[in-house]
Symmetry: C2
Subunit: 184 residues, 2 copies
């Protein structure tokens, strides 16, 4: 998958009671997901938040590591964080990718919960050409709100193990899905 | 692999200049790796540090989430952090596992760098029986020191993507290796 993008969504997501909320930025999500994205050849990572102070914080982190002291301290981190783009809405990220790619992007939701009609990463690769732009969408907090999941074109199977425990961090989930898509 | 354990090593690891150091605890490593371990049916997660203040901090985090307020706030986190055990040395972890399993444990190093004679997660599964106790060893900071890698019975292939970038977080690397071992 040569034109893969990631969206890390902070709104609309849900809390522990499955109520829609906007979540706060967790800066280590940006680092871990950008490093995994860089490893697996992802084209861009969208941090999506409607909150101006959170968008400012995200841009400050990016600036530190791509232009500031952090960029000289750790060039590997610089390379990774250069992949990150900040937008206010999911739709804004989709529009930006479609402009960059001169065509539609397939949006693919992820969730730890079972939903009908999910597909495997392998099936996603098989059904889409290698060049098809795809946006893999991850929720922070307790996951993407159903309204955003339903807005996406497809949804990936949840990551499961031998038991029923399904509480991976979004950092772990993004890393595993990327590995399955790129190496699986 | 029904008897898999994880070691998260803080000494001996290396810094950016490949010099042996002892690293500081990163508490989110404990959370992310314990959550992945719980998801994939790992038997125990060893946090290994020779520094008393760091061991105390690790135990304080575990206590908060398994016995304190955190355990009532988030029972899923409780389940995960109950997997964590703290030891001062790698040898101490190995001894504890061997006592628990009544027999030897196969130690398997991980590294982002290329080494001779590494094997794939698939080959590890094939060559070891499903019941064989295995300890998967991860380094913090810039990775395990060679002396510890060489002390292990085997070493897994590094996780790679289409390019040469090899700077995953230990949280991402542990998640991907577990997925490959349990679902690959």
């Amino acid at each position: 998958m040569d034109n893969l993008y990631i969206a890390l969504v902070h709104y609309p997501v849900v809390n522990k009671q499955n109520q829609p909320i906007g979540s706060a930025l967790t800066t280590i999500d940006m680092h871990d997901i950008a490093r995994a994205a860089m490893t697996f050849g992802v084209k861009g990572v969208y941090v999506i938040t409607p909150f101006q102070d959170q968008a400012d914080l995200a841009r400050e982190v990016i600036r530190h590591w791509t232009l500031g002291h952090g960029s000289r301290l750790n060039p590997c981190r610089k390379q990774a964080l250069e992949l990150i783009r900040v937008t206010g809405t999911f739709e804004g990220a989709v529009q930006e990718i479609e402009a960059e790619q001169n065509g539609p992007v397939v949006t693919v939701a992820t969730s730890a919960r079972m939903h009908p009609n999910t597909i495997s990463p392998h099936a996603l690769k098989q059904t889409q050409g290698a060049d098809t732009p795809c946006l893999l969408v991850f929720g922070t907090a307790w996951g993407l709100a159903d309204e955003l999941i339903n807005q996406c074109d497809m949804q990936l199977d949840p990551i499961t193990g031998p038991g029923s425990y399904n509480h991976l961090s979004v950092r772990s989930a993004a890393s595993i899905y990327l590995d399955r898509l790129m190496n699986g």
